[in-house]
């Protein structure tokens, strides 16, 4: 058993990201939440700092780091704005799909602009029929005159209205047993017929754009196909399992830390019965419970990212981390509100936002029940 500790470089990296967050995110997070706008203007700066392509090799314009460093980036950003956290997280999803499944030409064409923040990435999988009914997708891809014609509607897509590079999954036929064959394509955001649709008015994770994306006879060449015909399910599943759920876990670790910091700050400053609130045991218990849940979520999340970086199978570990972190973020935000009394429901304090962000994080990347099914399946199978 190795002692869990971040490396010196990872601690320095965290400090560097925190500087960016203190300067550019913390002062504006409340405004983004209130106005429900995604600060897309931050992408070039985030690109310059290496945040957009943190796990992408340097040869494609990335920072050349791993998924542990990516989780640190998302945790630090989400400490103040889980909305921006999920927007960047989804940018990473599209980027990861191309990095892990694209050919050399596709990587050279798309990754440098995604890493520099010149372009925003996205991954469009979920459809109105349901995200968990993965193979029940209705979007189609038809081969006509050596080109693929894509049609369909995706919903609950983060970065729906801002993505310049959108990775789509469509059904391109049936196999010999009549099962749907799913294939993934890279679509340029400005391709004719590729348009954003309805924009959702969300409870939480505001500061990111979520909505429909429509393909209406979008024509793409075969060079836009990721990996091969029929690889779409694997591409989407592994990207969501090992990059998406990692991201949501890290975002919620950030929310959890935010809860602790706010609870400590408030209980230090609030004087009750002539002494700071934190002298009351009832309040201390709440802070301690928040700490325990934060530490547990952190350990689960970074254990899973460490496994990902080591090339080990980690889908179950990410399901466990995602389940625990998202649910814990809601419990801790509620507990922090309770510890603050009437102030907890005042929007001047960020804790109400933390609660809404925590709640909105639960279905993102698969509901808690989906994570439990994955965990149960692996446990029963002895994995």
């Amino acid at each position: 058993m190795q002692f869990f500790q971040f490396t010196e470089e990872q601690e320095m990296l965290r400090k560097a990201v925190r500087e960016f967050v203190d300067a550019e995110v913390a002062p504006k997070a409340k405004e983004w939440d209130e106005n429900d706008v995604c600060p897309v203007e931050l992408w070039p700066l985030m690109g310059e700092l290496g945040l957009c392509g943190v796990f992408v090799p340097e040869e494609y314009g990335g920072a050349g780091l791993g998924h542990t460093e990516r989780a640190i980036v998302l945790e630090e950003i989400s400490r103040h704005s889980a909305g921006l956290g999920i927007a960047l997280m989804t940018h990473h999803l599209g980027t990861a799909a191309i990095l892990y499944y694209g050919n050399e030409e596709q990587k050279k064409k798309y990754l440098p602009d995604l890493c520099s923040g010149k372009k925003v990435g996205g991954l469009s999988v979920t459809e109105p029929g349901g995200g968990s009914d993965f193979m029940g997708q209705k979007s189609t891809g038809e081969l006509k005159d050596a080109k693929w014609v894509l049609n369909g509607r995706k919903c609950f897509i983060t970065n729906s209205h801002i993505a310049d590079v959108d990775v789509w999954t469509v059904i391109t036929g049936q196999d010999e047993k009549g099962r749907p064959v799913m294939t993934a394509f890279i679509i340029d955001g400005d391709a004719e017929g590729h348009t954003p649709g309805r924009k959702e008015h969300k409870l939480g994770l505001r500061g990111s754009v979520t909505g429909d994306v429509i393909c209406n006879n979008v024509v793409v060449g075969p060079e836009q196909m990721l990996q091969k015909l029929g690889a779409g399910a694997k591409i989407a599943m592994t990207t969501i399992q090992e990059v998406g759920r990692a991201g949501m876990s890290a975002i919620c670790v950030g929310i959890l830390r935010g809860c602790i910091e706010e609870a400590v700050k408030f209980s230090n400053e609030r004087i009750l019965y002539g002494k700071p609130l934190n002298k009351l045991q009832a309040i201390q218990f709440m802070i301690a419970e928040n700490r325990v849940e934060y530490e547990a979520a952190k350990l689960l999340t970074y254990r899973a990212t460490g496994m990902k970086d080591a090339g080990l199978p980690c889908a179950t570990e990410f399901a466990i981390a995602k389940y625990y972190s998202t649910e814990a973020s809601v419990r801790c935000a509620k507990r922090t509100m309770d510890s603050m009394g009437g102030y907890g429901i005042v929007n001047e304090y960020p804790v109400g936002r933390f609660l809404r962000d925590g709640l909105a994080s639960i279905p993102s990347g698969g509901t808690s029940q989906v994570q439990l099914l994955i965990t149960a399946g692996a446990t029963i199978a002895g994995k």
């Binding site: 010196e8 320095m12 560097a16 310059e48 945040l51 920072a63 050349g64 002539g274």
Partner: protein, 279 residues
Amino acid sequence: MGLSIAVCIKPVPDPKHYDKIKIDPVKKTVVREGISTILNPCDKHALEAALQLRGSDGAVTVITMAPPNAEETLREALAMGADAAILLTDRAFAGADTWATSYTLASGLKKAGPFDIIFTGTESADGATTQVPAQLAEWMDWPHLWNAVTVEQTGEQTLKVRTKAENEWSDYQVTLPCLLAMSRESNKPRLTSLMGVMKAKKKPLTVWCRPDLDVDDAALGMKGSPTQPGAIFEPEMGRKGILISGDVDEIAAQLVEKLRTAGLAIETGDVCAPGGGNV
């Protein structure tokens, strides 16, 4: 040939933990153990000015005189973009005032140089004496300018520098070498990139102790410091509640009297009391 630039930096206590700072009553120095440090905010402006002036063929070296854990601060400066770092650290340097500090820094800079320019911040966030830049320039026997807001290279060996005073600014033509203390208003220090962090660990960081420098022991550390602090004490910061009783007018009158006694001037008739009477 590019400019060879040195930047003096200092790790200072993190303002987020100022409440934990203690003063050693005997040595009359700040007890820094256990307090996390940050790169002195003013020094970031100095480093930014150096990085902007460096160009493609220049080099920026950061230097500090500090305890061994200052390597972390130097790595931060390297991550921001400096090319090399020097740490001057030895028990013999401890407890130095600005005189002994500037003497030690000058010794390190002379050994590491030659430099064309030395940049510093105008002051440190902890001591805030503003004395080190001028003293260091004197030890180097160089011209110096304090509170510089812009720096522009006008020739191979000349700079145009603008400094700011309270209500005026002045432009200077300066011949190199020189020392410039940069104002907080001079620039916006760049944020550190992840790539910068990873490059920092590969950049050279040299540690020099007392035997590595050509210095006079009598001029080092507390022993070499002519500054003798007087009595240092922590002010009493306790709160005391006072209950004022009476009707509204009486309470208001007592309140005004207490505020006046505490040194707060209040003109009568300015404030309308809740009961309707002026106070």
